[in-house]
Amino acid sequence: MTSYLDATLPSRSEHLWRYTPWSRVHPGSVDTIPTVDSAVVKSEELEIVNQPFQPLPSTDIARIFLNEVLTDTILVECDGKEGNIHIHAGGHAVATHLHISCKTTSNLVIHIHGEAEWFGLALTGHAQPNASLSVGIINELSTDSVMVRVDDWYVQRDGRLELATLSMGGHRNKSDIRSTLQGTNSSLKQFIGVHGHGTRHDDHHVEIQHQQPHTNSHLLLNAACDDRSHSIGTGALTIDDVAQHTDASQVFRNLLLSPSSRAEAIPELEVLANEVAAAHGAASAPINKEQLHYLMSRGLSNEEATSMIVEGFLVDTFTGLSSDYVRDAIQTRLTVHLECKLIG
């Protein structure tokens, strides 16, 4: 396993670290390994088991760092169940590693909250053959927190994985979400909704690798950026040469709500097979004036009409989720959050 202090720090020319350098999300000075405590993880519906730490693949600096500071792995027993997992991140620097393995069907929602200055989250999981796993992640950290999230998901033959992320909390977030379609006829649906407010900096890097034929993936990232927030979406979709008959799509949409907000979208595509349908799209625009006019002509104020459009834009991110349980949980939290933020 690569040691963090021996590892080379990534250059900003690297796709992964182009907009959020590692030094900005490390909990301290980059050449040190500070003390990192374990976050508190609880669930009423699901059984969670503490196990010795299972190392993450040492492919990048964030994973190498987490391998040094994490002490245990929390195994989530979720087969045939649905439920919530609450992670409370408090204190100076905390981290946790959740591992989810699903053999049948499972729907779960991970809620992240707390006031930690720095929070490191490692999520790993397997959708086993024929399994159907739906996972929602809701980030409601305090507005001063910095979060580093790394995900490694594997989907096996005829497996189905749905990953939905609602990112509303934290001051600076860097998420590196990687999924590998390892088995024939496996599929992945990924939805990311970002609400940028204040000076939030939210960077999502999504890697999807199709390793087998007849695999499908769909990624939708919707970011609504207000105030001086900055949203970044980078995608790296790879279709291996054997992965014929693959269907893959990536869509990045940014809604810019204030003159000082910023958004970056880089949906990259590497295709080595020819019997494929691969497409991506990215769009960035202000609020549609016609929509605003329509709503205001029905008696809504400018603020109310704007918040309604933003809500519609973000809620729409998750309408493709087939799990009602995860979709309802996410949309409920989103509505509550927007009512607090936009209407006051």
Binding site: P267, A282, P286
Partner: protein, 468 residues
């Protein structure tokens, strides 16, 4: 043609070459002395020598670029390149005076016919300097300057000094530094205020000698309210050792001016084609790049436009064909620096026989650039299972009123389309050729007629033997 050359040429259509007949040729490798000698040989003013030397030092210190397929650049041996070669002692203006062996090469490229038909003027670059140059009388009467870059520097040093390196400074990247240090040839065009050049103005570039780097420098200035369409095409003989083509093109479109720059490059499959092309569009000006990449071993070319003035517009249409052993890493960069600027990028690529085509783009909207609109469309066709197609778009949006769209798709030739054409009596190969030509049609319709015809012919040639 010698047996060695014949063997190397293989089945490459334009892969003929004439025995080298250069009169002045520098040793391989680069040093400050080589840079100073090039400048001295050309009797350049001191300020140009100083820029060259400064650029040489920057080149030596500068690291390889990080944008693009940078691993492939490691194959370049800068010490194995001849940085200056003069193939003819003087610049010719009359076709009859052009040396016979050089003329033979051009004959096979069809330049005389093209000129007789409807060209505005021809600068044919043979190796490092212009050997043939003509300009139509009506252009001269309108005050349009169309010279090779060396003559431009001699005859109009004040204009060259004012604009040289203002769009692509030598500090831009390692290859722009190299070009600034050793540039030779290229075109210099100045279009005065309000003059519209109706006919496309053309230049042909060729590489003829082994390991011959070609470092042409082109500067086009369209003054207020003027317009010009410049066309550049390349073919090169095939050699067994690598050649380097590293050009710099600078376009300056003043208020209300329009510049269209069309290129079809068909370098042979051993050439590294590393070109920095950039244009500046001032208020209400338009810069258009129409860019076709058919040949070369590795092309890294991202025509760029800086939309500096309000209401400026950029248009980039590019196509790439990547065959066996080729990597076409092409794309476009548009920087919206002023309000109400607009841009359109259309990229089409085809990969075949294990070739790799990549779109790499940058679309930037700065905080001051309100009300910008842009659309980027990338389509890729994969013709077999050994090929590869990549898309690396970047969108950086710093203004909330910007309206930007990007869409890309990768697919293979549809079985339905093939079946339809074959049921009308075409062979599979013909049907495939028609579909490929149709795929590139948005590009070819923007080219002057003979270029479009030549491109279609080239594509048909490339498609031969692609079935079965």
């Amino acid at each position: 043609m010698t047996q060695e050359a014949q063997d190397a040429v293989g089945d490459y259509k334009y892969g003929f070459h004439d025995p080298e007949s250069s009169t002045i040729r520098f040793d391989k490798g680069l040093s400050e002395k080589v840079v100073r000698d090039i400048s001295e040989l050309k009797n350049e003013p001191q300020w140009m020598t100083d820029i060259r030397v400064k650029a040489y030092h920057h080149f030596m210190e500068r690291e390889m670029p990080t944008w693009g397929n940078c691993e492939s650049l490691e194959g370049i041996n800068f010490d194995n390149v001849t940085y200056f070669l003069r193939s003819s002692d003087k610049t010719e203006k009359d076709w009859d005076d052009v040396p016979e062996d050089i003329k033979r090469t051009f004959d096979r490229l069809g330049i005389p016919e093209a000129e007789q038909k409807w060209l505005g003027g021809v600068t044919a670059q043979y190796e490092s300097e212009a050997v043939y140059h003509s300009i139509r009388e009506d252009l001269e009467e309108q005050g349009v300057l169309f010279l090779d870059m060396d003559s431009g520097l001699k005859e109009h040093p004040e204009i060259v000094k004012k604009y040289f390196g203002t769009v692509v400074p030598h500090t831009d990247n390692k290859f722009s530094a190299l070009n600034t240090a050793v540039w030779s040839g290229g075109s210099f065009i100045y279009v005065p205020k309000g003059v519209h050049v109706e006919m496309p103005v053309q230049a042909y570039f060729r590489i003829n000698a082994k390991n011959m780097g070609q470092f042409e420098r082109t500067l086009i200035i369209a003054d207020e309210g003027s317009s010009i369409h410049y066309v550049e095409g390349c073919t090169a003989p095939t050699y067994s050792t690598d050649s380097l083509h590293s050009a710099v093109v600078e376009l300056i479109a003043m208020e209300g001016a329009k510049i269209r720059y069309s290129t079809v490059q068909n370098w042979s499959a051993n050439v590294y084609n590393l070109v920095t092309k950039r244009g500046v569009a001032h208020k209400n000006a338009t810069v258009e790049w129409v860019d076709g990449n058919i040949g070369s071993k590795l092309t890294m070319k991202y025509p760029a436009v800086l939309l500096k003035g309000e209401g400026a517009h950029a248009e980039v249409i590019s196509v790439a064909y990547a065959g066996e052993g080729q990597h076409q890493d092409a794309g476009a960069k548009v920087h919206h620096l002023a309000p109400n600027t607009t841009s359109n990028i259309l990229s089409k690529s085809i990969s075949k026989n294990g070739g790799r085509s990549s779109y790499r783009g940058m679309l930037q909207v700065t905080p001051k650039a309100s009300g910008c609109r842009s659309k980027v469309v990338c389509d890729a066709l994969m013709l077999d299972e050994d090929s590869r197609s990549d898309t690396y778009p970047t969108m950086e949006i710093g203004n909330s009123t910007a309206d930007l769209e990007h869409e890309a798709s990768v697919s293979k030739v549809s079985g339905d389309q093939l079946f339809y054409l074959m049921s009308r009596g075409h062979s599979e190969e013909e049907a495939m050729g028609m579909i490929v030509n149709g795929f590139f049609e948005p590009f070819t319709r923007e080219l002057p007629m003979e270029y479009a015809v030549e491109l279609n012919r080239l594509l048909e040639l490339e498609m031969e033997g692609s079935i079965g």
